[in-house]
Symmetry: C2
Subunit: 335 residues, 2 copies
């Protein structure tokens, strides 16, 4: 389980495309209260419009970690970023990275971390050994976001649902299973990075026993119909033993992204299969609604689509970006 | 992908329970032509009834590897075994282990391997990085053994089916996915030890393009209805893209072993779900029969059980230990 030290200084490197700074914007939007400011190299052209703050200044003000908030070409850490990271480490701040390159593979960073008494946190990787899943029931309630494909809103939906529950005074915790989610939450497990035998065990560790009325809102990964990642999805589903599922979907996709021979399944079929698989570890599981990424639809088309879908599936249908997730929170709490 | 050097010298340590030497007996029975002899400490009381041969003698006669063929308490390598392993390494033989303890964690073994120009092979572990699964169709034919639980004959069935196909003059290769299978085959991937994201990709690498009439007979792992390991099973199923499935089952089990709250599913339901999941990467997949571990049944009870099951499911039903797997080979080749 990763445990990160907040508050954060967000590092943007020399980014010149807003889309490459997706992680930094996500952190600003979802855990802004934990973000002290931003820092970048002089050639960067993108800004988060947060106070600029050098690693030394941030450390002096109590920052816990410098977080690399940008994607690097090929996932490789560019050597000219190293001096800024070393400065943070020397000042006692941890460095957090979701890049493919492991921070620990850079001797100068290892040395600087040692000297500053700081840690290198590679949230894409997982060196922890988990026990195998037990299937034993845990106290507290759990909802898992699942999808018809990857990258269509499972994390966003889980974050929005957590906020909505908390705003209603319901005790709720976002449980992160991917690198950006882990940075936002400050803890979590990159389930796709654990040893295959321990996927379900890692998911069990992620949402331990809790108060009976507490909700863990668990970020889903992959899709049950995905030719590369379905194993991760199924292990996460079994280990999460959810009481409720939210199915996330993007109506503009006819096939799994990058797999033109794999059609997106019918939505009722997808719900049936997710619920059936989840029943293995929680007989009472049900699907409480759909979260649609409708960014390709006009307002009118979205209204018509949502109405038809809600009637056909007899479930609330929302787009978190178009009206929020309140109907999902209500359905969750109704049972 | 593990690649082991044959022929083998089988090492039995100081074993005094036949059941602890399961791996050694399996190697003797399934790749006897690759086994040069056995070696053990003076206190061992179990023998394979093979020629005794010290590591130095075996190396002089051309042995490629000393294979640890016994389970150790807690999976930990006992220090008093080290001198025999070091002798093998000094003489230029690799050492192969399926224990939890990594051979590479013992400095004296690392040193001996270096001096002898030999390798340490931890087949339980996998340090290889695989690409993500592509789902792309490969040439050649594939059959995968799947199960209603773990440890009920998936490896044995795959080995027996490979032999049966080869005896009929059909080009066939056993593809190992677990440690004992890897030792028998001399190569393979421990799929439960790969990073979760790459289960399907590892399975794709294990059974590459082949001649159109060649059969890969792939050892299954886990079960689709297992609360700890279903993710491994599903990823292996998708990556294997099997043309045919053989369902393995033990009628004496009412629940998943070690999980008394998880009932074994109905057999027709299990077949339907395996075939449906496999259709994601191979639309033409079918179940060609059942392989039953009937060791708890009398001869009469087995005959009655097999007859009833074959009628009900309209598929051949065999027990490899009671009459062999010929009906499965026939069904495989019939289509």
């Amino acid at each position: 389980m990763h445990q990160l030290r907040k508050p954060y200084l967000l590092f943007l490197g020399d980014v010149d495309l807003k889309s490459d700074a997706k992680t930094a914007f996500g952190l600003r939007d979802w855990c802004g209260g934990d973000v002290m400011g931003e820092w970048s190299l002089p050639s960067a052209t993108v800004t988060l419009e947060l106070p600029r703050c050098s690693p030394a200044q941030a450390a002096a003000r109590g920052a816990g970690s410098l977080v690399i908030g940008v994607a690097a070409v090929g996932g490789v850490l560019p050597p000219h970023w190293l001096p800024e990271l070393e400065a943070a480490l020397h000042a006692g701040m941890d460095v957090v990275s979701g890049l493919h390159s492991r921070l620990t593979s850079f001797p100068s960073l290892v040395q600087a971390a040692h000297r500053g008494g700081a840690a290198l946190r590679d949230v894409r990787h997982s060196d922890q050994v988990f026990p195998a899943g037990t299937g034993a029931r845990r106290s507290g309630k759990r909802v898992l976001t699942v999808g018809t494909d990857c990258a269509l809103g499972k994390k966003y939906t889980a974050l929005a649902l957590t906020r909505s529950l908390q705003a209603r005074g319901v005790a709720a915790t976002f449980r992160a299973t991917g690198q950006t989610g882990i940075m936002i939450a400050g803890s979590g497990v990159a389930v796709d990075a654990v040893i295959a035998d321990f996927i379900a065990g890692a998911a069990e560790a992620l949402s331990p026993d809790n108060a009976p009325s507490h909700w863990d809102v668990i970020e889903g990964q992959g899709a049950l119909f995905h030719p590369a990642y379905a194993g991760v999805t199924l292990g996460l589903l079994h280990g999460s033993q959810p009481d409720a599922l939210v199915l996330c979907h993007d109506p503009s996709r006819g096939t799994i992204e990058g797999y033109p021979n794999c059609p997106i399944p019918d939505l009722q079929h997808a719900i049936d299969r997710y619920v059936e698989a989840a029943r293995l570890t929680n007989r009472g599981v049900r699907c409480v609604g759909l979260s649609i990424n409708s960014s390709t639809l006009s307002d009118a088309a979205w209204q018509a689509y949502a109405k038809e879908l809600a009637l056909r599936l007899r479930l609330p249908v929302v787009d978190p970006m178009r009206g929020g997730v309140e109907p999902l929170a209500e359905a969750l709490l109704a049972a």
